[in-house]
């Protein structure tokens, strides 16, 4: 398996009236062809901003990608001209978003919205695009697709709209599908259906997937690798089974401690990590997790640890070895 995407030192900031928001602070990660990467972390840790940066969809002003590289099929996404990046968007890299209720244009039909990318990137005419749109809707298991293709988004339920978004995303056979919390806004049963659908489509089509979520349970069933983000940094990155079997970062430990265990008693309390993430405008020196960390040592307050390999395909940014060894 070749490397599909290689991100190096990606750094994105927002220049607001209150100051510079350090949303993504120089992250590195790789993604292989056909691989599924989960990105997890608390709200505001920079998950969306990091993938929107790859698509060059950061609202600017106030946002700006201030540094880094993102090599995709031999080209740096961050250095591409506007025209080049447009030919990648929706074509080689597709993205679906959190809220299917607001992510579709209310005044255009489903056909108009799905066909658009087909006409643009694959050069289809209206008739071909419509035919393909119907096939795509069938592929994402929308019943009676041929008749519903001219409906408007408001005539679809939330789950159905997310299916439409997926159909739209997959329309040009992308090498990479980025899903930014695609199930957060849906109820649990629909959520499970969407996850199953993506798993199956991935098997059929073979694209790589970046799946963003706060839900570690979802990641466990879906991803090959996981990046844990905190305050704009990747603090741990590992294959999914290692992440669960052998978590190394105190923050990951905290997150895992806070997943409700299916086998535990129903009333068993979640153990959320106490405290709040740091202010991204006024970042303290040292490890951003230090104020909340049970393992913190003096050094943690002065120096921010870098992401370092601790085992095969497993890296962690922490001064302390939580497994008890010395580092």
């Amino acid at each position: 398996m070749g490397t599909l995407l290689q991100v190096k030192g990606l750094k994105t900031q927002f220049f607001t009236q209150d100051g510079v928001v350090n949303a993504v602070n120089g992250i590195d990660f790789d993604l292989n062809e056909g691989e599924t990467l989960g990105i997890v972390g608390e709200s505001g840790c920079g998950k969306s901003v990091s993938v929107l940066s790859l698509m060059r969809l950061i609202p600017s002003p106030p946002g700006r990608i201030v540094g880094g590289e993102a090599w995709f099929q031999g080209r740096d996404l961050l250095k591409m001209s506007e025209e080049e990046i447009r030919s990648v968007r929706g074509n080689k890299i597709a993205m679906i978003f959190q809220d299917p209720m607001t992510s579709l244009n209310p005044v255009l039909t489903i056909n108009q919205q799905v066909s658009e990318a087909l006409e643009l990137h694959l050069g289809m005419d209206k008739r071909q695009a419509r035919k393909r749109t119907i096939e795509l809707l069938e592929m994402v298991r929308i019943p009676d697709a041929a008749n519903r293709v001219d409906d408007y988004p408001h005539q679809f339920s939330g789950g159905m709209r997310q299916r439409v978004m997926i159909a739209m995303g997959l329309s040009c056979n992308p090498q990479l599908l980025i899903a930014d919390e695609p199930t957060t806004a849906l109820d649990v049963t629909i959520q499970a259906q969407i996850i199953d659908l993506v798993k199956q489509l991935k098997k059929e089509i073979g694209m790589a997937v970046i799946w963003i979520t706060h839900d570690l349970g979802v990641v466990a069933g879906l991803a090959d690798r996981v990046n844990v983000m905190y305050a704009g940094y990747i603090v741990e990155s590992a294959d999914v089974k290692d992440m669960y079997a052998d978590p190394r970062h105190p923050y990951t430990l905290g997150l895992l401690g806070s997943i409700p265990r299916l086998d535990a008693e129903r009333k068993a309390k979640l153990t959320p990590i106490e405290g709040l993430p740091p202010d991204l405008i006024d970042m303290p020196p040292g490890c951003p997790f230090a104020p909340r960390c049970r393992y913190a040592i003096d050094r943690c307050l002065e120096e921010n640890p870098k992401l370092e390999t601790v085992a095969r395909r497993h890296s962690v940014a922490c001064w302390v070895d939580v497994t008890g060894g010395k580092r």
Partner: protein
């Protein structure tokens, strides 16, 4: 949709009835009468005139007569200040002129307001934005009574591009239409800008960009139609006001429109003229609002009338 339109048109009947009752009673409740002059007329003459026009009757009887004349003979009654002309004549001679002026002003308002609003939104905080909003503030804050003479001074008297006043030839129509449309264009520009700024922050715009569409396609296909929905709302009443005549601009440019008759008829208690103009305005307003509602249905598929 068709049934909806018919129903809305039928609703006009009670609405107009209600408006006619209110205006009729208000007009007659105001002290004074149509034949009060600075130098008072002899009492017998006033009594005779009142009798001639039926003004000695109880108000409700006058109302019934007034309405039945309209409904049965489409006769809007006499003009007290002129023996030879009736309200129908005023409508026939002056309404088309006011309507022409109104339509032209509306076209100018839309033609300037919408592009300016869009441009200002797309190039937020740029030269175009500041220009657009400067024009908007100017337009809203400078009343026609100032703008009209200003335009005459610059474009008619100094540059001699257009005639000073009058109506009937295209050249004569330019300045008054601008003077009248300016303020409305400012209102439209501001609303369009605000609406556009709101829309381009919506998630579906990000979705459209994520498809790889050009910025132009995103704006034209995905943003404009949505942004126009709130703008359409204000166009109905705006249109009705412009088309039924505007006193100030018509006075400044010596345009023989409806505006003058409406104002003088109020001060003169010329009841049939007052009533006729108000009813006309109400009809325009109701129809313009209906047109707006129909436009909605075309713009926004979530709106369906049954």
């Amino acid at each position: 949709m068709f049934r909806y339109i018919v129903r809305r048109l039928l609703w006009m009947i009670p609405v107009l009835f209600f408006i006619s009752v209110i205006t009729f009673s208000l007009a007659h409740a105001v002290p004074g009468g149509p034949f009060d002059r600075e130098k008072a007329l002899p009492a017998e003459i006033i009594a005779n005139l009142n009798k001639y026009y039926g003004l000695d009757q109880p108000v409700w009887k006058q109302y019934v007569k007034y309405m039945s004349d309209i409904l049965l003979r489409f006769d809007f009654g006499p003009v007290y200040s002129s023996r030879s002309r009736r309200v129908n004549d005023i409508f026939r001679d002056h309404l088309p002129i006011s309507a022409q002026l109104g339509v032209l002003a509306m076209l100018i308002a839309l033609g300037i307001g919408i592009p300016l609003g869009i441009l200002a939104a797309l190039k937020q905080n740029s030269f175009w934005d500041y220009l657009g909003m400067a024009v908007a503030i100017f337009g809203v804050s400078v009343p026609g009574i100032v703008l009209g003479p200003l335009l005459i001074l610059i474009f008619a008297l100094t540059l001699k591009w257009f005639p000073v006043a009058g109506w009937g030839t295209p050249a004569k129509m330019v300045l008054p239409s601008i003077a009248l449309g300016m303020r409305e264009s400012a209102i439209i520009a501001r609303l369009t800008r605000a609406s556009m700024l709101q829309v381009i922050r919506e998630d579906y715009i990000r979705t459209a960009r994520a498809k790889g569409l050009t910025e132009r396609a995103v704006m034209i296909r995905h943003a404009l139609k949505n942004a126009f929905i709130p703008v359409a709302t204000i166009l109905g009443p705006m249109f009705a006001v412009l088309v039924t005549g505007t006193f100030v601009i018509e006075q400044i440019f010596a345009i023989p429109g409806m505006g003058k008759y409406f104002i003088t008829s109020i001060t003169n208690r010329d009841y049939p003229v007052v009533m006729g103009t108000i009813l006309l305005y109400a009809v325009f307003l109701v129809i313009a609002n209906l047109a707006v509602d129909i436009t909605y249905a075309f713009l926004d598929p979530r709106i369906r009338y049954t």
